[in-house]
């Protein structure tokens, strides 16, 4: 048997290359568009503020906000707040996301677990997360734990629910293949359920990160001494409108940045998904 040729990695076939080149072109075009639209909005805003179309006391020109942004960035103040928020976001994301992923996939695989847990999720999901902030403050106090818990709860729902859907959407034939090849429970999880549900899980993670940003800002407005939410709240109290916009803008930037990073991550993790 001569199998040496087959054992070494082969060059991708011409067909495959052509497909990749085509999708690469399309991808860059859409990336360009997604940068252009926020820039256009900023330009419009600047013009309106300068021409007095909008009240510059409430809607200061982006150039003025940029100036404040720059000085706060140079003094290190902005980074201090951003870092505090990011750290809470990360902790909350791990604390909420990992159990959500495990539970969601397990629920997708087990109809028993689904029957047990689904009503609980359905009942607790519609409760506005911001409405349980006082409860979290009672339980966890004014410190870091209440903020992390807030993000964790926010991230939990979209990740868990999308993981369940993701597993349920996996064609049954793949589970039959797993059984036919005598895959253990863990092997079914690792080789079928997790990769098969990954497109949905990524959607859940994206929603979770967005919701996490919303909730971190809210939770930092109550009893925090750092973070972007605190920055915004504090700016309101001292009526520093430019600083308030810096906070808002930084959150927007983070959202934009995370979306981009997660899209790249998704392309890397789910190379098999046709788009």
């Amino acid at each position: 048997m001569s199998v040496e040729g087959a054992a070494t990695p082969e060059l991708p076939a011409p067909v495959v290359e052509a497909l990749d080149a085509e999708s690469l072109l399309g991808r860059h075009f859409y990336e360009l568009l997604s940068v252009a639209s926020p820039l256009a909005l900023l330009g419009l805003w600047e013009a309106s503020a300068r021409l007095g179309v909008v009240d510059a006391r409430f809607f200061p020109a982006p150039s003025g906000v940029a100036e404040t942004f720059w000085s706060m960035a140079r003094s290190g103040e902005l980074w201090l707040h951003t870092e505090a928020s990011l750290l809470r976001l990360l902790c909350g994301f791990l604390v909420g996301g990992i159990p959500a992923l495990a539970l969601g996939i397990a629920m997708g695989l087990s109809s028993l677990l689904r029957a047990l847990v689904e009503p609980l999720i359905a009942a607790t999901y519609p409760i506005p997360k911001s409405a349980i902030m006082p409860l979290l403050l009672l339980v966890f106090g004014l410190g870091e734990a209440s903020k992390v818990a807030m993000v964790a709860i926010g991230v939990f729902f979209p990740v868990a629910m999308n993981a369940v859907t993701g597993v349920l959407e996996i064609n049954r034939i793949y589970l039959d293949v797993g059984r036919n090849y005598r895959a253990s429970r863990w092997q079914v999880f690792r080789t079928i359920a997790l990769p098969g549900a990954l497109p949905f899980i990524m959607t859940g993670i994206k929603l979770g990160v967005g919701l996490g940003l919303v909730l971190i800002a809210i939770s930092e407005m109550l009893g925090a001494k750092s973070g972007l939410g605190y920055l915004i709240w504090n700016a309101w109290e001292i009526l520093d409108v430019n600083a308030m916009y810096v906070g808002l803008f930084t959150i927007a930037l983070l959202g934009f940045f995370f979306t981009h990073v997660l899209n790249v991550l998704e392309r890397w993790l789910v190379p098999w998904k046709t788009r």
Binding site: M1, A6, E10, P12, A13, N180, T191, T274
Partner: protein, 268 residues
């Protein structure tokens, strides 16, 4: 040689197999009292009208479903090998794995040594003409190529018996003919016992050593026919053989009544 009825020892024994489902009008009998012995090394075909329970029968042999009555016995020669590998109808290869990882699936699950996986998977990818596509993902492949991956995966797993559930039914005529020839060529290497389900009489005669014709629901064994053609076979030359047409005609005679009965029931 069609030796199924004679010499070779039995590899698979089905005894009084039955499968009943609960359904809206009441209990439905999908399979009723199927008993058959399949000889070692036999390419065994099961032909029947749609809805005759042939897929259910295969899933019971595979252990994916439990029979309501009766037993399945596979006589094992090597305990280290898996009992069966199935080639499913339609797309069954994992879209999230490359061609290579798909073909290696069974071996990786069993924890086979990496060097052996490389050798075995490399061999079957070469035999199925997929070496060049080892790093490709299924969505980059045509239907025929995907089914080749499924074939490579099942053969690479090195089971005691191979089960095939209409693996070519979704392919066009030309691809089907090509894949039938390739399947026979690969099968010739080891001549493992195969149970192959089809609704195509031509496919049954082309591939099989022995053909079991099933009745319309409830599925029973209606007739058993030996195929006289020598191996290795050429799928194309076979069709020029006068016995080919005669055999197809004869099987159709047995099957026609069942197909009409299945149709009549479907129209009720």
């Amino acid at each position: 040689m069609s030796d199924a009825a004679s010499g070779a020892p039995a590899k698979i024994r089905l005894r009084h197999l039955a499968k009943r489902f609960r359904s809206r009008p009441g209990m439905v009998t999908a399979i009723d009292d199927v008993s058959v012995e399949i000889a070692a090394g036999c390419f065994f075909m099961i032909v029947g009208p749609s809805g005759c329970g042939k897929t259910t029968l295969l899933r019971i042999i595979a252990g994916l479903e439990q029979p309501s009555a009766g037993s399945v016995e596979v006589l094992r020669r090597d305990r280290a090998k898996p009992v069966n590998s199935m080639i499913f109808q339609g797309d069954s290869i994992f879209p999230w794995m490359t061609v290579w990882d798909n073909a290696a699936y069974g071996l990786v699950l069993r924890g086979v040594a990496r060097s052996q996986i490389r050798e075995v998977v490399g061999h079957y990818l070469e035999r199925t003409g997929l070496t060049r596509f080892a790093d490709a993902y299924p969505h980059q492949l045509s239907g025929g190529m995907k089914q080749r991956v499924a074939i490579a995966r099942a053969f690479a797993n090195d089971p005691e018996i191979l089960l095939m559930d209409e693996p070519f039914s979704a392919l066009d005529e030309q691809n089907k003919t090509l894949l039938q020839q390739e399947l026979l060529r690969i099968w010739e290497e080891h001549k493992k016992t195969v149970v192959f389900i089809t609704h195509s009489v031509d496919e049954a005669v082309t591939l099989g050593d022995r053909i079991m014709i099933m009745t319309a629901q409830p599925g029973r064994a209606k007739a058993m026919i030996d195929v006289p053609f020598a191996r290795p076979r050429s799928v194309l030359d076979l069709r020029a053989d006068p016995r080919y047409g005669a055999l197809v005609h004869r099987i159709w005679g047995d099957l026609r009544e069942e197909v009409q009965r299945a149709r009549a029931e479907a129209h009720q």
